[in-house]
């Protein structure tokens, strides 16, 4: 017994120190995270403005990447290097199915899908959080909600135009039509929040939502709805993705990959030397780089001058687009008048120095008018992120002048089978 007691005393002594240490050090596991924000810390009225702004920021970045990547996919641009995975985007290859999904500011290959999903989800989260606060808690609450809804609507819209089908919130797949309807709902909600507001920003969001809803309705075949929304857009309205050369997340990706890194991407040959009645069309300003060798050694390099630097904003909703939507659904003399009005006002475009005096379009042939509307869209909305949707919507034999390419590209590599962008493998796990 004595021996056991001694053993017990010795072991008690042994355990005493670690136990004391453990009880005294209960705060040891606390670590700091000063460079990032935990999700639970977002739910505060003070952050409502940051949330709405973040949705817009995500969208702007997504759009910039999309204009480059979507341009490669849909004949606005082509890839002139031999090695980057961007060439597979141009080829619309099966390999895009298993691409890692990149954020908008990554560039191993053009990020097309994930950035708009981020913008969409963050938009819906912002709406949910801000809705939980009162007008007293959050200044400009309605404008913030309208902004979040409008940008969420645009994210749905571009995903709906681009993707063959969509996955939402990690769940099952939904059709392009359902996505477009969701976009329409978001714009409707946005309009409810900013319908009567008078500030400049509220008016801009209202116009943006109207252009966006008109675009959704155009895709849904709702001509009356298009006319209702597009007709209410203020003349001269333009909403831009707000970009800046001071932060690479805010770069204009088109300028970056076509102009700045000459030799990576080039404007597609179908845009070279566009004219209207023998006058160079200033809506597609291009320049050939004759002294610069493309990375693939075979392509002609054409840079664009629509965007003049890394911080050039990209328009994505405008009165001119609204007018073209009216022209598309109206046809006839209405369409002709719109085409001519737009041609007469090209000098209003920020990258056009002077009115070149483009001659008017004259026709009373419906087919010819529809084809010209499409051609005008192609030039007016050059590198603005509408091309894939247009090519899929207008892929009507005899109407579309710009089909998805087949055969082999300029380097002899075969084009893949896709026209709409396939749902990535990561959504099929």
């Amino acid at each position: 017994m004595l021996r056991f007691d001694r053993l017990l005393r010795r072991k008690t002594l042994l355990f005493a120190l670690p136990v004391l240490l453990l009880t005294a050090c209960d705060d040891l596991l606390e670590v700091e995270l000063p460079g990032q924000v935990r999700s639970q810390d977002l739910n505060h009225p003070r952050l409502a403005g940051v949330l709405a702004r973040s949705v817009q920021g995500d969208f702007d970045c997504a759009l910039s990447a999309y204009v480059w990547g979507g341009g490669l996919w849909a004949n606005d641009l082509y890839q002139t290097d031999n090695f980057s995975r961007a060439r597979l985007t141009q080829l619309r290859s099966d390999e895009v199915l298993n691409f890692d999904q990149l954020e908008c500011d990554q560039f191993t290959f053009p990020p097309i899908y994930l950035p708009f999903q981020i913008s969409r989800v963050q938009g819906e989260q912002a709406v949910e959080i801000i809705s939980g606060f009162s007008n007293e808690e959050v200044a400009d609450r309605d404008l913030l909600l309208g902004t979040a809804h409008a940008y969420t609507g645009y994210s749905y819209e571009i995903l709906g135009e681009t993707m063959c089908e969509l996955a939402v919130d990690g769940g099952g797949r939904v059709s392009r039509e359902s996505v477009m309807m969701a976009a329409e709902d978001q714009f409707t909600s946005a309009l409810q929040f900013v319908e009567s507001a008078a500030s400049g920003e509220a008016r801009s969001i209202r116009n943006m939502a109207r252009v966006g809803r008109a675009r959704a309705r155009l895709n849904l075949g709702d001509a009356a709805g298009v006319l209702e929304d597009a007709g209410q857009v203020d003349a001269g309205f333009v909403r831009y993705a707000d970009l800046d050369l001071s932060d690479d997340r805010l770069y204009n990706r088109v300028f970056n990959y076509v102009n700045r890194n000459s030799g990576n991407s080039s404007v597609h040959p179908s845009y070279v030397d566009l004219e209207v009645g023998g006058i160079p069309d200033p809506r597609v300003p291009l320049e050939r780089l004759e002294d610069t060798l493309p990375f693939d050694g075979v392509s002609e390099l054409w840079v664009q001058h629509k965007y003049t630097d890394l911080g050039s904003d990209i328009p994505f909703a405008s009165w001119r687009e609204a007018q073209l939507m009216i022209a598309e659904v109206s046809g006839g003399q209405t369409a002709v008048d719109i085409i001519n009005n737009l041609r007469a006002t090209v000098a209003n475009l920020p990258f056009v120095d002077a009115d070149p005096g483009l001659p008017p379009f004259v026709s009373n042939d419906e087919g010819q008018i529809r084809a010209q509307v499409w051609e005008e869209r192609r030039r007016e909305l050059f590198l603005q992120g509408t091309k894939i949707g247009d090519m899929l919507r207008l892929d009507i034999p005899g109407v579309s002048t710009d089909d998805f390419e087949t055969g082999v590209n300029q380097r002899g590599n075969p084009y893949g089978p896709h026209t709409c962008y396939p749902l990535p493998d990561q959504e099929r796990l």
Binding site: R3, R6, L7, R10, L13, L14, F15, L17, P18, L21, L22, A24, C25, D27, L28, L29, V31, L33, P34, G35, Q36, V37, R38, S39, L42, V50, L51, R53, S54, Q56, G57, D58, C61, N82, F83, N98, D100, Q101, L102, E103, L114, Q117, I118, R120, V121, L166, A167, V168, D244, L245, S246, D247, R249, L250, F295, G297, P424, Q426, E427, L429
Partner: protein
């Protein structure tokens, strides 16, 4: 009111602990007699410093000095058992009779033995235990012995492949840029790094790699190999349980040299040598082009030599200078060293200069309390070689006018020439490193031992990468398009370790002893990452970030804390049967909020059979059998559990947030459980020594880095505890003393390891996870197995070359989550990806031979090999499709090759990975003592070491499809898991070093 500095409750207690351990020690006894003598190595006759000589019954002891001498005072008259112990040597017990007032001389010879059953092991044990009591295998590299025969210039060369089951994949052959990827018993984690933990004198060490473009630089080689006494390696959860979370990949412990009582002794060495790229013309890929219907082939090395009349690559100089001093008294001993190492690469802009200093102090306050204080610093400056090597692969005769191409400044290189790399980019690493620790050993009573270690490891690294504006901008180097750019990346890493262990010994009966241990560990890692980047300079004279037109900045702080507590009970029976049980409980800041603490148990047993009375097999002695089962963890990344948003610049340059990490509130560590059995045996009077181990390991709750579905609105991946990976393997260490007697002694050693693995599960929803270029984690197959389409037939569209049609692929046979080969041929559009093979080495071997002649000469040679799988040469497919400069793509006459390219280019990079390489050749001459003394030295030696002397055998030289000759299959990117062979990394260089060592 302002208050002064205050200690937290934890800090107060820590301080108090140190205080308590330092007081109350009883005084030492008076003198009655003296034992003196020297300790030396029984085989080489070299004096041995730091041998512990003690008389346990009297509780007195002393360490031998640098010359091996010792003096033990206060010895009462009578016959005593003098015990001599030293790491890596067999313990010697010698009877010594002391008369009152007299001095007795007792010289001790210690024998190095591979089995080392009585050697003290400090890694994976509670405060240090004799090897005989440990149920798992512990390998040890005797750094001093290695340095004597084959001088090394860094820790990687020292660690090498001397340990069965430990494999290293080098990161590339340029100077200063490569830290190898270290794998112990292969890989077991799907989603987390598989690196082992590294400790130095009980303190966690930063071995993070910093990723650069086509180059990695690492921290392991910051340690001066001249300062290292030995390296202990424990291999898996069964051995590393006491290290808890993070330790399931094994633990490497670096033990540095210590001082010895006696007059100061200096060790000086000078090393001069060179490194080079062996047979460079065969290390580059020949590049082909068809120009105007004629085929041209260009070997860029030969072409440049013909053009300029001198080799493209040079011999880079190696210089190293070391000075170490050790000495002291019985109370205070010191070891101090300084080392300067200067290495030039085989391209002239690639160099590395580093200086290290170390001071280790040992203070014996009394026979119950001792304190060790260690401090080291390193200052290094490296200019990296950049990605010049890939330019040799990307090139084409099309840009070489002397090979039928166009007039071009590229001369057949890819996008820039070597001189453009040298003059256009300056990529530097400036590293300052400080390591300090204090270790307190306190035994207030003979039955109660305490050990407290507290230490910090601080690394300050500044990386600058300047791409100068070129005169012909905007055409030029990458990213800046010739307009110039500069990145400055500051990375400060702090590691703090606090480790207490206490052991109470108690003999229940004269035969049955117990040892109860408890431990408390705190480990914190904090990194501070600051980056500034500037793009576009107005003139060529500008090259600072502030001078650039566009600036960006980044700052991040990441912190991780582990707190652990363990209890261990050990029973011993007559010091030959040991049974140990332990439990460790961990909490970690990276665990999810819904996840509690983690518990890791272990049980081990060992039995020295040959010491039993019934043992009568004299030819087999000693023999010890051992077995261990245990668990350890691997923590997820810091903040991996949390849903996180990161700040970005929003519209109008206002602050905004964007989604960053989806997180997982239920996330916990993955848990490795391992069972190993084995034996250590000596045959024929220990002339043959064998250590055999068989292990089975299962990683439960394996963290799978599953991609987040993009529709959830978050980028990247999400860690989930979903998987299970099983590993198994065999390790054999064999040492044979073929000739034992002078004048010729010959020793052979073999370290062989076999390991393999299989993914049992990736979770409920996942059967298959793509990694990169054909490598996939697939259930039922090894980690990162190669799964891709296999074209079995194809027809040319026309003629006998060019595009193909009617591509038929192996239809595969369903197995696990994938398909194995051997199915019916089906159109490739309907075919699955089939399994081609594993992409890890299943076997590793190192065989070495040491020949000792007349005690003065020693010749050492070693062969290193790996194999048993495939390697994917990542750049080869690009030669076919992107650069189109391979012979196969120029000819286009192989329908299978053309069909494979049309289906998936990945298989064109496959090659069998087996090889045997002539790794080391060393010659050492021990200068005659008379001659050494004439030079003013006590001892002197000169040694020559040569490394990487070429392949003895390669399983395959050419890729399976396309037939591209791959010069090397060993280099990779050390900071990326399952990355495959990176042929864009420069091949491994060869080196030769002559070192003169003088002791005085």
């Amino acid at each position: 009111m302002r208050s002064g500095p205050r200690l937290s409750p934890c800090g107060t207690l820590t301080f108090a602990t140190v205080l308590v351990l330092g007081i109350g020690a009883p005084p030492i006894h008076g003198q009655q007699g003296v034992i003196t003598g020297s300790a030396e190595d029984a085989r080489s006759g070299q004096p041995l410093a730091s041998v512990q000589l003690s008389i346990s019954t009297l509780d007195i002891g002393v360490l031998s000095d640098a010359g091996g001498g010792y003096q033990l005072t206060s010895v009462p008259p009578g016959t005593h058992t003098l015990t001599a112990q030293r790491l890596g040597y067999e313990t010697v017990n010698q009877q010594v009779t002391v008369a009152a007032g007299q001095t007795v001389v007792a010289d001790i010879e210690l024998t190095q033995a591979a089995l080392q059953l009585d050697a003290v092991v400090v890694t994976g044990t509670a405060g240090g235990t004799q090897r005989r009591a440990i149920g798992n295998v512990v390998d040890r590299v005797d750094a001093v012995s290695v340095q004597e025969v084959t001088p090394v210039t860094n820790v990687e060369q020292l660690l090498g492949t001397r340990v069965p089951g430990l494999a290293m994949q080098a990161a590339g052959g340029t100077i200063g840029g490569g830290q190898s990827q270290i794998r112990i018993r292969g890989s077991a984690s799907v989603g987390l790094p598989n690196d082992p933990l590294v400790y130095i004198d009980g303190v966690r060490m930063n071995i993070d790699r910093t990723e650069g473009r086509r180059q990695t630089t690492g921290r392991l080689n910051d340690i001066n190999p001249e300062d290292i006494e030995s390296i202990e390696v424990i291999k898996g959860p069964a051995a590393a349980t006491l290290y808890g979370t993070e330790a399931s990949n094994g633990v490497i412990q670096i033990i540095t040299k210590r001082g010895a009582a006696g007059d100061v002794q200096f060790d000086a060495s000078i090393g001069l040598g060179t490194n080079w790229l062996m047979d460079p013309a065969n290390q580059v890929f020949p590049n082909y082009a068809t120009i105007d219907g004629q085929r041209y082939v260009m070997n860029i090395v030969e072409a440049e030599e013909q053009r300029f009349g001198e080799p493209l690559f040079r011999y880079g100089a190696l210089q190293e200078y070391s000075l170490a001093a050790r000495g002291g008294t019985d109370r205070i001993r010191y070891f101090a060293s300084f080392n300067r190492n200067d290495q030039d690469g085989w391209v002239d802009w690639n160099w590395d200069l580093r200086q290290t200093g170390r001071l280790n102090l040992d203070l014996t306050v009394n026979d119950r309390l001792s304190v060790a204080v260690n401090g080291s610093m390193m200052s290094g400056l490296t200019r990296l070689a950049g990605d010049f090597w890939v330019q040799t692969m990307r090139g084409s005769p099309r840009t070489a006018v002397d090979f039928g191409g166009a007039e071009s400044p590229l001369r057949g290189f890819g996008s820039r020439t070597p001189e453009a790399q040298r003059d256009g980019q300056e990529w530097m690493f400036d590293t300052e490193r400080k390591n300090a620790s204090v270790s307190v050993q306190f035994s207030p009573w003979p039955w109660f031992q305490n050990r407290l270690i507290a230490g910090v490891d601080l690394t300050d690294q500044v990386e600058t990468n300047t791409v100068f504006r070129e005169s012909n901008a905007p055409n030029g180097l990458w990213r800046s398009t010739g307009l110039g750019s500069r990145d400055v990346l500051g990375l400060e890493t702090q590691l703090k370790t606090f480790d207490y262990s206490g052991t109470v010994n108690y003999d229940l009966t004269p035969q049955l002893g117990t040892a109860t241990s408890v431990g408390f560990q705190f480990y914190e890692k904090k990194t501070w990452d600051v980056r500034a980047q500037g793009d576009e300079f107005a003139t060529e004279a500008l090259s600072t970030v502030g001078a650039a037109a566009r600036l960006t900045a980044f700052e991040d702080i990441v912190e991780n804390v582990t707190v652990g507590f363990y209890v261990q009970e050990q029973f011993s029976w007559e010091d030959r049967i040991f049974l140990t049980g332990a439990v460790r409980i961990d909490e970690n800041s990276a665990f999810g909020t819904d996840f509690g603490s983690q518990t890791y148990p272990k049980v081990s047993g060992t039995w020295v059979l040959s010491e039993e009375s019934f043992w009568n097999l004299d030819f087999l002695n000693p023999l010890r059998v051992r077995g261990a089962w245990g668990a350890a963890g691997r923590q997820p990344d810091t903040f991996a559990a949390q849903r996180i948003f990161r700040p970005v610049t929003g519209p109008g340059l206002q602050p905004a947030l964007t989604s960053n990490n989806f997180g997982n509130a239920e996330l916990g560590p993955e848990r490795g459980e391992e069972f190993e059995i084995g034996f250590d045996a000596g045959l024929l009077d220990e002339r043959v020594q064998i250590a055999f181990t068989q292990y089975w390991k299962s990683t439960q709750d394996a963290i799978v880095n599953a991609p987040v579905r993009p529709s959830l609105g978050f980028p990247g991946t999400q860690f989930i505890n979903a998987g299970q990976v099983d590993n198994w393997g065999t390790e054999v260490g064999l040492d044979i003393q073929i000739l034992q007697e002078n004048p010729v002694r010959w020793d052979l050693g073999v370290a062989f390891g076999y390991n393999d693995n299989e993914i049992v599960s990736l979770g409920d929803d996942l059967e298959d996870l793509a990694i990169r270029r054909g490598r996939r984690h697939t259930v039922g197959f090894p980690l990162a197995g190669f799964h891709d389409f296999k074209v079995v037939s194809a027809d040319f569209v026309s003629g006998s070359s060019g595009a193909v049609t009617n591509r038929m692929c192996d239809g595969g046979i369903a197995s696990g989550g994938g398909f194995v080969e051997g199915g019916p041929a089906v159109p490739c559009g309907d075919a699955p990806r089939v399994y081609w093979g594993n992409t890890h080495h299943t076997w590793t071997i190192n065989a070495n031979s040491t020949l000792t002649l007349f005690d003065d000469w020693r010749v050492f040679a070693s062969v290193q090999g790996q194999g048993g799988g495939l390697v994917h040469a990542d750049q080869v497919p690009a030669k076919h499709t992107s650069w189109r400069n391979s012979l196969a793509i120029q000819e286009q006459t192989d329908p299978i090759f053309m069909g494979t390219l049309a289906q998936s280019r990945n298989p064109t990079g496959l090659i069998d990975n087996g090889y045997l390489n002539f790794e080391e050749l060393g010659v050492q001459y021990q200068i005659q003592s008379e001659l050494a003394q004439r030079l003013g030295a006590e001892r002197a030696s000169i040694a020559l070491a040569m490394r990487n002397l070429g392949f003895i055998w390669r399983e395959e030289w050419r890729t399976k499809i396309g037939g591209v000759r791959v010069p090397d299959v060993r280099q990779g990117l050390g900071n990326q898991e399952f990355i495959g062979q990176q042929d864009s990394q420069a091949p491994l260089s060869s080196s030769g070093l002559v070192r003169l060592r003088i002791s005085f």
